[in-house]
């Protein structure tokens, strides 16, 4: 009983941090499919977020991927500057993570 009481008291006063000195998030490799534009896409997308964030959107239409890329540029300020760069990324995404439909 004494032991139990001790445990209860202990539990109700654990207001200190469980982690002293912070955390380190592991690096996880999400391999990209080989294809035209892979290196360009890697540089432009993976600077800000993991490839997992991209590939786990599921297989999508060309329109979807174009809209996502535009959202990244307009809303999130991704530094994809030229139309050629935009097309390279969209084509890579659609060819490797597309559902075969233009829209």
């Amino acid at each position: 009983m004494k032991k139990l009481l001790f445990v209860v008291l202990f539990m109700s006063t654990t207001l200190f941090a469980q982690v002293n000195g912070g955390i380190t998030v592991p690096y996880i490799d999400f391999p990209m499919k080989e294809g035209k534009g892979m290196y360009s896409t890697r540089g432009k997308c993976n600077m800000c977020h993991s490839w997992g964030y991209t590939l786990n959107q599921g297989l999508q239409s060309k329109k979807f991927w174009r809209e996502k890329v535009m959202k990244m540029i307009v809303v999130f300020k991704a530094p994809i500057k030229t139309q050629e760069d935009i097309d390279t990324v969209v084509n890579y995404l659609f060819e490797n993570y597309g559902n075969g439909k233009l829209e």
């Binding site: 469980q18 999400f30 977020h49």
Partner: protein, 401 residues
């Protein structure tokens, strides 16, 4: 974060691969994907979970966990929007700022929160609006979650109302904006700010520093996060450090575009005919999940099988959970727990049956809330472009041997 310090072990995460190869047409909602494996590497303070991304961390809880009213902290799902998350917070210097349309702009330290305000505890389900998104065909945009982007915890903290009162809201204040410590890579990128209409403020909305009797895990928002019981988790800001009162709604991408569904009766649309008028997802609909057995479990013929799971809704309360073992024709009531965790919590349920034949057996569960709302069959769920609010009747298929 220092990339160099990262654990550089390259692994292939079996659980997280592109999905959506189905050739089904619109409006043929299916069961969410259910066979993903946990990653072979654990994130800080977590056991290995289904891993969709490391930057920002996106982790899903496996089905087996959903057998009790509380979800353990180290198995609790994780979803961040911004990739730059502070990897150290000093609890002795951390404070939250209250500003904007207030009588007095203040900073409240963690210690002050714990000592100078009324302490409250509340158990509530935290569920991503896109939980089970893999059910939607064609594939809806967003992370392709299975059923585990949810959890239920006992939260301890202080009422948001009390903290706002200390700063003194001005009469013209109508919106409260919340911001956390996570940041985008580029300074130009707007923060993940969410807003609450002041008229929606109530006693149950709390700033929580404790989860299931422990400090919040870093990945669940240490040292402080917002709790909005009954609502999907899009506004439960993690590592919350700033609250701003405004008169007008701010112009925010995450409020104007994200986490919104068609503003019509069925909350549905088709890919060819997207609905222009939208509304926020807000209150959770009635839902239930079988935690045991899982698809593929082998069970003994003519031997008692105890089915376990959890049910919840947006706070009206669960009236009953029913189980069917004949494909949804006959339904029998499951036993519910005593409900002592409150109406925003999971109700754990059990149902005992004895399989009569060897071979495959499908077990379904369906919850009904106190308002009389019950879960529809998966196939009857209508599509929306964000893949939000899926609550189809859950099922698992076991092998009777």
């Amino acid at each position: 974060m220092e990339r160099r310090d990262f654990f550089k072990k390259a692994i292939v995460t079996a659980g997280a691969v592109a999905t959506g190869t189905s050739t089904l047409e619109a409006d043929e909602t299916v069961h969410p994907i259910d066979n993903r494996k946990v990653s072979d590497i654990a994130f800080p303070e977590k056991r290995p979970l289904i891993t969709y991304s490391d930057r920002p961390p996106l982790l899903e809880t496996p089905r087996e966990v959903f057998t009790s009213a509380l979800t353990p902290n180290d198995l609790f799902f994780v979803r961040w929007h911004m990739p730059m998350i502070p990897n150290y917070i000093n609890p002795n210097t951390f404070s939250i700022s209250i500003n904007g349309l207030v009588e007095k702009e203040i900073k409240v330290s963690l210690k002050e929160l714990k000592t100078e305000f009324k302490q409250v505890e509340l158990t509530a389900v935290l569920q991503c609006g896109g939980n089970s998104r893999t059910a939607f065909k064609p594939t809806a945009g967003g992370i392709q979650w299975g059923i585990g982007a949810m959890g239920c915890a006992r939260w301890k903290g202080v009422r948001l109302k009390d903290v706002l009162k200390k700063a003194g809201l001005k009469k013209e204040a109508a919106w409260i904006g919340f911001n956390g410590e996570d940041k985008a890579v580029y300074n130009e990128t707007a923060n993940f700010v969410r807003e609450l209409k002041l008229e929606h403020l109530n006693d149950n909305i709390i700033l929580a520093y404790e989860m299931n009797g422990e400090d919040l895990p870093y990945l669940n928002g240490y040292p402080l996060r917002l709790i909005i019981p009954g609502n999907y988790s899009d506004s439960w800001i993690k590592m919350i450090s700033n609250i701003t009162a405004t008169k007008e709604k701010q112009k925010l991408h995450f409020m104007e575009k994200a986490y919104r569904i068609p503003d019509n009766e069925c909350e549905c649309e088709t890919p060819k005919n997207l609905v222009k008028k939208t509304k926020p997802i807000e209150e959770m609909n009635v839902n239930s999940i079988i935690g045991y057995p899982v698809t593929g479990t082998k069970v003994r013929n003519a031997s008692p099988l105890v089915v376990r799971g959890v049910a919840f809704d947006g706070g009206h309360g669960i009236k009953k959970v029913q189980i069917s073992i004949d494909g949804g024709k006959m339904w029998e009531d499951a036993l519910l727990d005593d409900g002592s965790e409150g109406k925003y919590a999971y109700r754990a349920f059990t149902y005992t049956c004895k399989p009569k034949n060897s071979g495959k057996l499908t077990i379904m569960c369906k919850a009904t809330n106190e308002k009389g709302e019950e879960q529809p069959f998966a196939k009857d769920i209508k599509w929306n472009h964000g893949g939000y609010k899926y609550n189809g009747i859950d099922e698992v298929t076991v092998e009777v041997v």
